[in-house]
């Protein structure tokens, strides 16, 4: 198994962006925050961008809550600085509208019911906005390392699809149809199409109702100018993600589902030619008596049972046997992943007895990430 050298990654000044991705509930956000603390304490100027609204993360960084602008984290030692922020997708979206259209048009868009729903809805928008924010942070050049924690998407790498999906939407005939129904008819009036055309406009009106269609249409018309730049930036961010200064970390828990998902991430990143740094397996069960196997421990407990005394030691041996059983299962899962993906470096983080509550806790995880305790 190849070892993932976290310190080499964060110490390398050429590393400008680290993207943590993985299934929900595997500890992505904590990993991102721990990396941030460690990188800052090793001299980098870091900003951590999270999408996780959990207040606990903010608290572990010493803030009451995180918001859409980077806040400096106090108590981080060393030469570097750490900032952290949480993506507010509606605010980010609103700011883009305001920055890229004249005040009247901005007002019109912000008041549009379809826009209001789009900008606060969860599906899809969050991915676009995370990409947008990442691009903004990168362009500002205020930090030399940006660590991003990706949205817990339905589909693992939705954020990678954001530019393409946006393009598909914008270049789609539907948009053109909405923009200029009359003209679209003429422009798209190819033979294959004519038959379906009136059927479609009829169907849309029938199903969605005229009012919604009108809202969408007004929105699209007003949004047209903003859209172009939007898409261009999304494509730039996509290229940025592919550049050598970016490192993707796939985060997983030592469970079959999470590792299956991790394999999917790895495949997807490879096929998109995204720079994959490695896999972080979080919350691995560990034991300092690794040499005492589950089988030997159980056998020893049975010996003590037969003797009828030493009941305390017998129960401790059983507890240990149970732990070793889990250790063995998780190591097998990790090793399966490693042999199926021999080129992917791996690091593991031992399970902590309690949740992380403060910077000290994040430092412990950061150190574990760097030493890969096995």
């Amino acid at each position: 198994m190849k070892n993932l050298d976290i310190d080499a990654l964060i110490d390398d000044r050429r590393t400008r962006i680290i993207v943590c991705c993985g299934a929900g509930g595997v500890g992505k956000t904590t990993t991102a925050a721990s990396l941030g603390v460690r990188a800052a304490e090793r001299g980098r100027d870091v900003v951590v961008l999270t999408v996780d609204p959990a207040r606990r993360l903010a608290q572990s960084l010493g803030l009451s809550e995180l918001d859409n602008s980077p806040r400096k984290i106090e108590g981080v030692g060393g030469e570097g600085e750490l900032h952290a922020m949480m993506l507010d997708m509606k605010r980010t979206f609103d700011e883009i509208i305001e920055a890229h259209s004249d005040p009247d048009r901005a007002k019109q868009i912000l008041a549009n019911p379809f826009y209001q729903s789009l900008s606060s809805s969860f599906s899809g928008t969050q991915e676009y906005m995370a990409m947008e924010k990442l691009g903004q942070l990168h362009r500002s050049q205020a930090w030399d390392l940006i660590i991003v924690d990706t949205p817990p998407s339905r589909n693992a790498l939705d954020f990678l699809d954001a530019p393409e999906r946006m393009g598909r939407f914008l270049d789609g005939r539907f948009i053109r149809l909405l923009l200029a129904p009359a003209k679209a008819g003429g422009r798209l009036g190819m033979k294959v199409f004519t038959a379906g055309f009136s059927l479609v406009t009829g169907a849309i009106t029938k199903v969605l109702g005229g009012q919604l269609l009108k809202d969408v249409s007004t929105f699209v018309t007003a949004f047209d100018t903003v859209f172009g730049g939007f898409r261009e930036r999304a494509e730039k961010t996509y290229e940025l993600l592919k550049s050598p200064g970016t490192a993707f970390l796939v985060v997983a828990a030592p469970e079959p589902d999470a590792l299956r998902e991790a394999t999917y991430f790895v495949d997807r990143l490879n096929s998109e030619r995204m720079p994959l740094a490695g896999l972080v397996v979080n919350r691995m069960a560990v034991s300092s008596a690794h040499a005492l196997s589950a089988a030997r421990s159980t056998a020893a407990a049975e010996t003590l049972d037969e003797r009828g005394d030493h009941t305390l030691a017998a129960s401790l041996l059983r507890l240990h046997a149970e732990r070793m059983q889990l250790v063995g299962r998780q190591e097998r899962l990790r090793d399966h992943f490693a042999s199926a993906n021999p080129t992917v470096p791996v690091t593991t983080v031992p399970a902590q007895a309690e949740d992380v509550h403060d910077l000290a806790g994040l430092r412990v995880i950061g150190a574990a990430l760097a030493t890969s305790g096995h």
Binding site: R56, S123, T125, N155, R173, G196, A289, A313
Partner: protein, 328 residues
């Protein structure tokens, strides 16, 4: 088994949610098996396209079609359906508007793509719409399914996901979509629907569960039970647990016991490790008890951790545990 009393008699739509990593798909599947036992017909619906249900039941990936995946104890049947948003939308257009041909043209135009991936809320309306259709569907004069179990989006999104009519009414004040949203909402808000929360005994999942319950209650959707998943059995007797937590276990004494058990080599090293592990176990157990105590005012069901990992036999064990505790 109508004579039998369960906590959720009369509930026909069971919505199962939970924070990522808590095992909600597993629990949804176990609940479906539990509800089916004794000759019932239950539909298990997956809405997030992850094919987790197929993996659990060890069958090939599910198409957009209701397929029988398991036979429950006592002869019931579990059917499974993985909803594909695009196909569900086209089906919906056909079913309610007789628009199958238009559906094809809509796909070509990118409208289906727009609705299922970009347009906010509409995607959720389609998913919940399909689920409520399967709840209402009849075969002859009886319902096609005695119960429907939905493996739904995670806790953080559940209230928004289920409140489709809010989402839709922001968009469409009148019209067929609005009417459809209202119809779906009437199923979700009915007393025949309950939302169950799956959690682990850890701080974050429990907090999300409590927040989720509060949000749902505020929105008038019926909350069901809380299912504690992967609970570990107590290995240490209470006194030992207590002593371990206080750091009062005698390492030398344990080392002597280990030698007596035949573990001559490294006995003191092992003893130290075992005592440290016991202390950690004690801390965790206390934390788990503290978290468990926070789950009050809703019925709670405890499911054991399966040390050998999840398989089909394990799924039946969990289903039985749910039945034994009155969840089904």
């Amino acid at each position: 088994m109508s004579v039998e009393d369960t906590d959720w008699d009369g509930v026909r739509l069971h919505i199962v949610t939970g924070k990522g990593g808590t095992g909600k798909t597993t629990v949804a599947a176990a609940l479906a098996l539990a509800l089916a036992s004794g000759g019932k017909r239950v539909l298990l619906v997956e809405v997030e396209g992850r094919q987790g249900v197929a993996q659990l039941f060890d069958v090939p990936p599910l198409p957009y079609e209701e397929r029988k995946v398991a036979v429950a104890h006592g002869g019931g049947e579990v059917f499974a359906l993985a909803i594909d948003t695009e196909e569900a939308l086209i089906e919906y257009l056909e079913m309610f508007y007789n628009l199958r041909r238009a559906g094809k043209a809509l796909t070509k135009l990118g409208v289906i793509d727009f609705v299922t991936t970009i347009a906010p809320g509409l995607r959720d309306v389609i998913l919940t719409g399909k689920v409520s259709e399967s709840v209402r569907r009849r075969q002859g004069k009886d319902f096609k399914y005695d119960a429907v179990v939905m493996d739904s989006p995670p806790t953080g999104r559940i209230t928004k996901f289920l409140n489709v009519s809010d989402e839709v009414s922001n968009l469409a004040k009148v019209g067929p979509v609005r009417n459809h949203g209202d119809l779906v909402m009437s199923v979700i808000r009915s007393p025949q629907t309950r939302v169950h929360f799956v959690t682990l005994l850890e701080e974050m999942p429990v907090q999300e569960t409590l927040d989720g319950i509060r949000d749902l209650e505020a929105s008038g959707i019926g909350v069901g039970g809380v299912i504690v998943n992967m609970e570990r059995p107590a290995v240490l007797p209470p006194e030992a647990l207590d002593a371990a937590g206080k750091g009062e276990l005698d390492v030398d004494e344990i080392a002597r016991s280990l030698k007596a058990s035949g573990l001559e080599q490294h006995a003191s090293e092992f003893a130290e490790a075992l005592v440290a592990e016991a202390a950690e176990h004690s801390r965790r157990t206390r934390l788990e008890q503290r978290e468990k105590a926070r789950i009050t005012h809703r019925p709670r069901y405890d499911l054991p951790f399966l040390p050998d990992g999840m398989d089909l036999a394990g799924l039946y064990d969990l289903a039985r545990a749910l039945r034994d505790q009155g969840a089904a």
